[in-house]
């Protein structure tokens, strides 16, 4: 029976994976055709003669029937060929490969910091404000997280730069030249997620801490740290994991802005550049990559959730 459940689950996830990827491929293909302006004209340059533009159009395959274009795009994606950048004529795959690690590294560091900090923060605040104690803390927590959430990440980034790079001079202001360069971008990218995740954890933890099993744990007179880490945290994982999928996605979105603030050589900045440069192959290559990562992560989190909390095996998603 159990094996059967997992088979059904795996098949459903596989179907979702395929459907989502197919939708993503259609979406990224359509981008190029919906964006206003003549791609061939832009690539050939304003000085180009009509003949040169026509030649460029042929070179880019834009004069082919749309289905032919789609098929060549689709088969290209399947074989890992995303075409060449209009701008640098470099294979898109190479351009993505050189930037992807930078985005993934701050996103991954960001999510780890987010999980650790917000679990600690949310639990601590929930613990300290149990039974209406320390109401000032409750208020301070509510306001400070609201401020962090409401402030755009570029303002937070600027504040971090002013404080830690320009005034104190302890951390680099921008770039990815050394390991310490990761600190500020990671902090900036994690700031919003930490605020929203710790609010969630605090809310969930307030409920968990009132559960009978936490009273049991208190009855064993173990330290508050142990109560929280060993007994409360596992019961918060399901909801935090579910949210962390969304947060990772928002981090990749946040990377677009954080990378601009910190001159970080990642995909986020590249996608903005490519849109403004009308470098369509690069734009859709990056959107495809980011979307693909989002899909895979999403499914991976579903699987982890199903292992952690087997009830989700049947129901699919936990509501956030």
């Amino acid at each position: 029976m159990i094996a059967n459940e997992w088979t059904v689950f795996a098949m459903r996830k596989a179907a979702e994976l395929i459907a989502a990827f197919f939708a993503l491929i259609i979406l990224t293909f359509a981008i190029v055709h919906l964006i206003p302006g003549d791609a061939a004209r832009v690539v050939a340059g304003i000085d180009a003669t009509p003949d040169q533009v026509a030649q460029t159009r042929t070179d880019l395959g834009l004069d082919q029937p749309i289905l032919t274009q789609f098929w060549s795009y689709f088969s290209g994606v399947l074989t890992g060929d995303l075409g060449d950048s209009f701008r640098t004529h470099q294979p898109v795959v190479d351009a993505i490969a050189s930037r992807l690690p930078f985005t993934l590294s701050i996103a991954a560091l960001g999510i780890v910091i987010t999980l650790v900090v917000s679990l600690a923060l949310g639990l601590t605040v929930a613990g300290l404000t149990r039974g209406n104690r320390n109401q000032w803390l409750d208020t301070a927590f509510g306001w400070s997280t609201a401020v962090v959430l409401a402030l755009p990440v570029y303002v937070i980034g600027a504040i971090l730069i002013v404080v830690f790079a320009v005034s104190l001079g302890v951390l680099p202001a921008a770039g990815a030249s050394s390991l310490v360069s990761y600190v500020l971008p990671t902090l900036a990218i994690a700031s919003g997620p930490i605020a929203s995740m710790s609010r969630l954890v605090r809310r969930e933890a307030a409920v968990v801490l009132e559960q009978d099993y936490m009273r049991t744990a208190r009855g064993w007179r173990i330290s508050r740290l142990r109560q929280h880490v060993k007994h409360a945290t596992p019961n918060l994982l399901s909801s935090t994991l579910t949210l962390s999928g969304l947060i990772l996605a928002s981090m990749i979105g946040g990377a677009i802005i954080v990378e601009a603030v910190f001159a970080w050589p990642g995909l986020g900045r590249a996608v903005v550049d490519s849109i403004i440069d009308r470098d369509y192959p690069l734009t859709r290559g990056i959107i495809l990559t980011i979307g693909g990562i989002a899909i895979v992560l999403n499914i991976a989190i579903d699987i982890v959730l199903a292992i952690v909390d087997p009830r989700t095996l049947h129901s699919g998603k936990v509501l956030v």
């Binding site: 340059g45 004529h89 470099q90 050189s98 680099p172 601009a260 603030v261 001159a263 050589p265 440069d277």
Partner: protein, 518 residues
């Protein structure tokens, strides 16, 4: 925002025949002083190619200058000085270059008249589809022939063109060695060191991250400027990509040694002795009108009225406080530029209001011109003040250029900017007078000023400098006389270097080969 500004500017350069660039150059070294052999700088974007003929963006030009020498260079004041060619002769339809012996390619091959001729033929060949062919050689057929015995290269033009020499001094006219011409793909990638004729060879290209150049051991052909360039060339040049928003901070924290900085941020370096600022000129700002029928500024009185309310000095203060206000599309370093205040329209808001009241005007603007698109906002405010019914669209440079060039029905007036690598009057003038863009020329304003247009053509085919300047003067006076455009100011770029590093701006232009340590 700021980020966009930089990205946008690059696109502009790639898409137009001219555009502005604001960011710049670089130098570096960590601690400054002795023992430093690396200069760290900042670029806006990845270079699109390492083939000079195909280069099209600001960062391309920066890279070309490092990797390829040109036959002619510019001195600090803009005069032409020897490069690979030690001397030259020019007539209306012929240029003869005498090649200096002893220059060598990256792979050790000597640079001969034949090498130069091959490279220039490739640049001139229509098959190459270089954006720069017509700017350098004009619109006729080009024949480049070497004479190894005499040590000369002769360029014959079927149509006279007077700007070949300044054209050959541009980085996009860099000489490509045989190894590069034999393998165009490797040339474009920059992966063939034998292709390089300049002081630096690309050693590492990490797309979107960093470009590293290394000084060639055998290179000793630095141009001789009128003032010596003090200091030592760096062994390594390292350019991070996309740092434009952050460079001011990075200069202050010592992460970058030399970089272009926005004029608004210059005050951050003002009080510090440990920073040097040099200002390079990159082009001209001017106001373009759409002269096409049915557009309000087809009428000369309307154009005059606009000039009567737009205070060029105030506009300059908004868009580029470091730039000089200009009376034509060039400054005192530009050959044949007129500097006649009387050709300018005096301020007269009341007279203007009589003409402009109730007129509906559509401005298209680039949000990269002036902080946050301030230039267009200023124009909007002035025209609206005169009673015009103004509609302003401020967009990124790509959209703006596309609209100006390809959707002429949708705009009446725009604030334009060029990247004038050529450093000549024709670069800007031909966008507002002469043959229409829609008919194969460069003029996007649909102006019909036959006097000015003929004089411009005459200047470009002049056989002597005097003749050229006569024609240019006539063209400028005719165009300014009917307010075909409004010159505003030079486009500048301020390059900040940390103590211990320096850079020069030959001819007012940025040039990385002048980066020095010490």
């Amino acid at each position: 925002m700021v980020g966009l500004k930089r990205f946008a500017i690059v696109t502009c350069a790639s898409v137009t025949t001219g555009a502005l660039m604001i960011s710049g150059c670089t130098t570096g070294g960590n601690a400054a002083g002795q023992g430093v052999d690396t200069i760290r700088g900042a670029w806006m974007e990845d270079p699109t190619t390492f083939d000079p003929a195909l280069s099209e963006t600001t960062d391309d030009y920066r890279a070309m200058r490092l990797a390829y020498d040109t036959v002619i260079r510019r001195d600090l004041d803009g005069d032409l000085i020897p490069g690979i060619a030690k001397s030259w002769e020019q007539s209306a339809d012929q240029v003869t270059l005498t090649i200096d012996q002893g220059h060598v390619c990256g792979d050790g091959t000597p640079i001969t008249p034949e090498t130069v001729a091959h490279s220039l033929s490739y640049l001139a060949d229509p098959e190459t589809e270089s954006l720069h062919t017509t700017g350098i050689f004009g619109y006729g057929d080009v024949k480049v022939s070497p004479d190894n015995a005499a040590g000369t290269v002769t360029i014959d033009l079927s149509e006279p063109h007077s700007e070949v020499l300044p054209g050959l001094a541009m980085p996009q006219a860099g000489i490509v060695c045989p190894a590069g011409l034999d393998d165009k793909e490797a040339l474009a990638e920059g992966s063939e060191p034998g292709a390089f004729s300049g002081p630096y060879a690309l050693t590492d290209a990490d797309s979107g991250v960093r470009y590293t150049f290394e000084l060639r051991d055998d290179y000793d052909d630095w141009p001789e400027y009128s003032e010596p360039n003090e200091g030592t060339p760096a062994r390594i040049l390292e350019f991070v990509v996309g740092a434009d928003d952050a460079v001011a901070n990075q200069l202050l924290t010592g992460e970058v040694d030399v970089a272009p900085v926005d004029s608004e941020e210059l005050s951050r370096f003002g009080g510090e002795d440990s920073f040097d600022v040099v200002t390079a000129v990159t082009g001209e700002y001017y106001i373009m009108f759409n002269h096409n029928e049915g557009h309000p500024f087809a009428d000369e009185t309307a154009r005059r009225a606009a000039a009567q309310v737009i205070d060029r000095t105030a506009l300059r203060d908004v868009i580029d406080p470091e730039g000089d206000v200009i009376q034509t599309l060039g400054d005192e370093n530009t050959k044949c530029a007129v500097d006649d205040e009387s050709l300018m329209v005096d301020q007269d808001p009341e007279a203007a209001a009589k003409v402009l009241d109730g007129v509906s005007v559509r401005i298209v603007g680039a949000n990269a011109i002036g902080q946050n698109g301030g230039g267009s906002i200023y124009i909007q405010e002035r025209l609206a003040n005169a009673g015009a019914d103004v509609d302003l669209t401020n967009t990124d440079i790509g959209s703006w250029v596309a609209q100006v060039y390809d959707e002429p029905d949708t705009w009446d007036i725009t604030l334009y900017a060029t990247v004038n690598n050529l450093g000549t009057l024709s670069w800007g003038l031909s966008t507002v007078i002469g043959d229409w863009y829609s008919e194969g020329g460069r003029n996007v304003t649909f102006s019909e000023n036959s006097t000015a247009s003929e004089a411009l053509a005459g200047a470009l085919s002049a056989g002597s400098e005097d003749e050229m300047c006569d024609e240019y003067t006539q063209a400028q006076e005719a165009a300014l006389g009917s307010t075909d455009f409004i010159p505003v100011s030079m486009v500048t770029q301020s390059i900040v270097s940390r103590g211990g590093f320096s850079v020069m701006t030959p001819g007012g232009r940025e040039d990385y080969t002048t980066l020095r340590v010490g």
